[in-house]
Symmetry: C3
Amino acid sequence: MLPIPKKFFVTSGKAVSKISDLNAFDEALLNAGIGEQNLVSVSSILPIGIQQVKRRELPMGAITHTVLAQQRGGEGEMISAGIAFGFRDDGQGGYVAEGHIHGTGKALREILEWKMGEMAKLRGIRFKKLDFKIEEVSIPMDHYGACLGALAFVF
Amino acid sequence: MLPIPKKFFVTSGKAVSKISDLNAFDEALLNAGIGEQNLVSVSSILPIGIQQVKRRELPMGAITHTVLAQQRGGEGEMISAGIAFGFRDDGQGGYVAEGHIHGTGKALREILEWKMGEMAKLRGIRFKKLDFKIEEVSIPMDHYGACLGALAFVF
Amino acid sequence: MLPIPKKFFVTSGKAVSKISDLNAFDEALLNAGIGEQNLVSVSSILPIGIQQVKRRELPMGAITHTVLAQQRGGEGEMISAGIAFGFRDDGQGGYVAEGHIHGTGKALREILEWKMGEMAKLRGIRFKKLDFKIEEVSIPMDHYGACLGALAFVF
């Protein structure tokens, strides 16, 4: 039997750092509440019957399957990262899209809408509605920046 | 106890799209029967005693450990992606190689044969035989393309 | 319940090859004792109460969550890869940093120390001590090279 997630939450985070973009990314993960877990990247399907729960504290070091969108950047840059997700209106699960750009969160939202639209067209389905979790950072001088959006499967 | 896969299947898919290479890749995954799963990439060992099964429908959203070779491209390009796999003739499991090129499936097959040969030499073993699962796409004008070969562990 | 690792070991390996950097990397993995497993990359947290064990032989093909740092290179190059890890002095688990450079192991060690220091500062914690597992290769003419440091969760 393959494991099928039963619950997920969405979260996001952002940070700037004078030290490094890795440092900013680490802080953005802590910010998002997933900085103390062993993250495993997965592609992006919502199983039938899965439920969205509130962001919760996860056990330290737990192996956590996550759809993660991240963007890092340098001084003066505008960066965005995030996810879109939606359930099929026929009750047969749903889909997640991830995106990250050097650009605004507004632009990223359009890109994610478009990606979700294409996934729906390809499968001949419709979404009940689309939800988004996007972060944007305008990185100040003398700083690095990072932002991320994530969907974590918490079983 | 670490999980050890007991069954696997191989599959492949390809698609072209007027929209984007992501769209073509998504369709190629659906084509291959693994477009509705949460894929986790793994390196490429066949455990002792594992059995190959026919491609089967997997539950939507199942977390599926997969050796995945993919190639995307633009108009006019020739792309190929695929895997080779073989069992040791001493019964001690087997190996998977993955490859993806801007080139023909025939060329990729040679590359994969060579990779498998090197894995065998390094370990001082021989394969019973080699199997391949390769897709090739000659991408038409005004299209993007994607192809993939995969070996999915289905426990 | 999310899986939480209870045991880990650290290991490293290196190799040079006349054939390819992939070949060198494959040999370095065998060298490190993790060349016959299905490796899944994870980010880098040591759960509370986890224990370090001696490097042990893992079952062939076992799905093994691993923090892996690797570097490959060509003739004449100096390459290094490795990890640093440390437990918090408050008993609340620990962290792993990974790094890989075209440079010496000594330089990499400084980088890893610095990365661990930043993780500590960000969280306002201290480490009991830092441990390192670093490999360096000075690649001879007519060879490729690869080296790696890894922390494998063995449950």
